[in-house]
Symmetry: C2
Subunit: 86 residues, 2 copies
C-alpha cells in the first residue's frame, strides 16, 4: 500500500469520525472538494501545509494525522503483508 | 514565518544534531542534495513521503518532525510575533 493510499485512509477516518462530508470539510479548510476526494482515494500526495489545513478543520493536529499514518505503516511492516481490506 | 521556513529550520536542526552534512543526508535518504538545500532554505514544501524519507535517515519519525513544526507554530502564535531570529 502506498503512502498516498494510507494517508487517504487516515483522512477518511478522521473526516467521518467528525461527521463531515467532503463538501463540508472543503468549506472548513479551504481546499477544493475534488482535491480532498483525490487525497482520500490515494491519488494525490499531501504537502505539509495541506496536512496542517486539514488537521485544523478536523479538530486534530498534523502530528496526530502523521502519527496515524506511521502506525499504519509500522503495523503493515510488522505483519509483513499490506492490509488490503482497509 | 511560512510553513516552508519553519520546516526548513526543523530539518536543519535534526540534520545538524545528527552531525550529517546535506551531502551525507542526501545519500542516506535518496533525495537530491540540492532539494535538501531548497527545503532547509524554506524554498520548497515537503510532501508526506519526503518527510518520511528524511525522518528515517535522521533517526527520528515523521511524527516527531511534524510535531516540532507545530510546536514552533504554536509558540509563534502564543508570542504573537514571528521569531525572526531563528
Amino acid at each position: 500500500m502506498t503512502i498516498e493510499k494510507i494517508f487517504g485512509h487516515v483522512l477518511r477516518e478522521f473526516r467521518t469520525s467528525n461527521k463531515l462530508s467532503q463538501e463540508k470539510l472543503s468549506q472548513e479548510c479551504g481546499l477544493d472538494r475534488s482535491y480532498i476526494s483525490l487525497l482520500e482515494r490515494g491519488l494525490r500526495q499531501p504537502s505539509l501545509t495541506t496536512i496542517l489545513l486539514l488537521s485544523k478543520a478536523l479538530n486534530t493536529t498534523a502530528t496526530n494525522m502523521v502519527s496515524s499514518v506511521e502506525e499504519f505503516l509500522n503495523e503493515n511492516i510488522k505483519n509483513g503483508i499490506p492490509d488490503k481490506s482497509r
